[in-house]
Amino acid sequence: MSELAASARRAVEAALAAGAGDAEAYASVEDGRELRVHGGEVESLSAASQSGIGIRAWIEGRVGYSYGTDLSEAGVAAIAKAAAEAARVADPDEFAAPPEPAPIESVAGLSDPSLAARSTAEVAELALTVERIALASDPRLVAVEQAVYADVAERVAIASSTGVAGEYESSTCFAYLQALAEGEGSRETGLGFGLARGPDGLDPEAIGAEGATRALAMIGATKPASRSCPVVLDPTVAASFAGLIGGALGARAVQRGRSPFAGKLDEEVASSAFVLHDDGLDPEGPASAPFDAEGVPRRRTALIEGGSLRSYLYDTYTANREGGASTGSASRQGYRSQPSVSASNLVVAAGELSDEQLLGEAGDGLYVTDVAGLHSGVNPVTGVFSVGASGREIRDGALAEPVREFTIAGELVAMLGAVQAAGAEARWVPFGGSVWTPPLLVAEMAISGS
């Protein structure tokens, strides 16, 4: 047993000693670095190491949680005591219980040795390359506000009084830039990004070129006419919507009547062109792991298939409420947060149309490359949304002039019903959680512009 797993084990014992009937401990150690470059220079270089433990205590159906960074014996005992104290404040809930242990299989490929092998100077060069490629692309590409490289290597251990025990290591890294282009009296921004398990999986030239291309394409953008028309969502935008849908499929919101998908199991909720899975095991998925935030094995779950709603996402508590099984969908933002139900990696099935064919299929409409205000413009309870957007006109099946400062509005379930086709070219996108998605053609959306 590793030192970390031993800490988790000790924490469970300490919580039981503090009066908990059942207890679970989640411990993690993280080492990361982040580089920001600007104007050919490293602007900041951060080295981060952190470790901590979060303890969940159950006392007769009452649940409490506490966390801390002090992993000494006295420190862990204090956290355990605080978790038990927190439980005594909560009201009892008959469905609150820790999961029973299930066999955990390791997932290959979660850690990339190139993370440790690449020196800080090497990853600095990667970030500088991202910036340089963008700046060299076009004289109208006047600056890169920031190019960033960040990575983190993490070890996680979990233990519980019911016998759950597991640990794994994983690594992730990403690079992105915000490019600035100027022309025709306006300034435009373009985001380029890539994510991988290690720096060798990133393509700095492609990232830099993507940011530059996106910014340059927006020069001269005007407001489009208000209308209802076909809309193609590029993968970054499709991912944001997939993330909202994944969130609304969490059983907690559904059971409490706070989801547009409540009461719609096995009903038609989408066109057959929109197929959605949750996949917690794909080694390329940033959120993949052998087990979820409470030690339940991750798995692959069909959510929307053949146009109908096949399953919600469950953690142990929400599964207990329905007498069903967890889908391994407990997540947490590190040891500071207690587990709650949410998607792991959302996978939107690719279709057969190339990007050109998808635009051809749209005929006349809008190609949306960016949305803003998702956290305030979407009502997660009702699914009603209105968000800011920018992109390009589609005319006669081809991309035409850039457009900005308009909104797209509608309702999530109605939008899924209007998905006419999915493109063939999918990618991983870190927006809306972690999402693998192609571009999507929606037959009709409401545009508010000029």
Partner: protein, 461 residues
Amino acid sequence: MSGLLDPAVAERVLARALANGGRFAEVFAERRHGLSMSIDESRIEAVQSGSEEGAGVRVVEGGTTYFAHVDGLDPTDLERAADEAAAALRGKRTEPRPLQAVDHAPLPIERRPEQVEAERKGALLRELDERARGQGAEIAQFTASYAEARREVSIANSDGLFTGDDRTRTRIGAQAVARRDGTVETGAETLGAHRGFELLEDDPGLIAEQAARKALTLLDAGPAPSGSMPVVVGGGFGGVLFHEMTGHGLEADHIQKGASVYVGKLGEQVAQPLLNAYDDGRLPNEWGSDAIDDEGAPTQKTQVIEDGRLTSFLYDHLTAERDGVASTGNGRRESFRHLPIPRMTNTYIAPGDATPEEMIAEVERGFYAVSFAGGQVEPATGDFVFGVSEGYLIEGGKVTRPCRGATLIGNCLEALAAIDAVGDDFFMKTGICGKGGQKVPVGTGQGHVRVGAMTVGGTER
């Protein structure tokens, strides 16, 4: 107040941080403690406490900042952070100045939340639940949360500054879901301050009733209009409009990178003369107030718009150094795990002399955005978007019906210049602002404000 750092240890850590050169070094030590809980389905749940302590050390040389953070505040932890920050430098040792303690009185806290029994906090949430459900049988769901957080910070730097702060914030939030036949609507309200439990001694249950009333009102809502029209924005959290469309663009890091539409506008008329606006980190016990910023600079009241003229940007230590000015006390960070960057504190439009009734009466057809769910801006282009949480149609100078699902969208400079009336009914509200992956508490405020023309993005055809 610099109790987390022993001055002798801090001097030693700063010297180690400068072992390979650097013109500036700083150690930021922090102890955090928090408690939160919520009520859902009339049951107290998600009771959670947490404690963390650690330090971040940075060294600045040329245009580069080297930063490392560690958990723990033992001298060995601090030295490890200093060594890691210094590891990538290759220069000759520089010497820090001897530390000089500067005391700033923390904001007064009358009733320390950690000394109030947890059961009392649970009882408060139950009261909120009852008050919300008392608004009508159509209230189908109600959730509320309570959160208290204390941050003790100590800061020492190689310029000889040695200071600290002790901050306690308390906040409650309420969210109601109303249901009638197939229609579902939501309403939310918050109350928060840089204060202790005394914040909740008056009538905290009021926010539950307000949230419930918003949700119930929206049950009668129709679709929001689309297109350009006059927009009257409500007081308090309506100030998020100014926060997004001007405040972010005035943060000096955006300015210095050319990534703000306010570049080159200092001293220029950017709004009508009726507009005066401030960033003020000293508003007594306000949500975004602190005694000092996270670099040890005293917070201050900075006028950013005077009679419509742009008068100041918002600076932290490094951006101020670059422009040869003094920090405006806006260097803030989420925690010891983050680098400070220029951030707003409490940003507001000062009260004007119009009344909300007058403003609305002058509008033939327009939109009344009472409150927002939030907003977002891209400072480089000035494009902004706000989600309206409570909005109404204005027809013939009168508020006629509630609207659901409205978003306001526009460009900063145009919308700022289009503000043609400022109300006398000023108040502040709390927000959580995200930038560069860091969240900090900010206050926003204003009386009613009217924007002559803005695009409303709804679904009405």
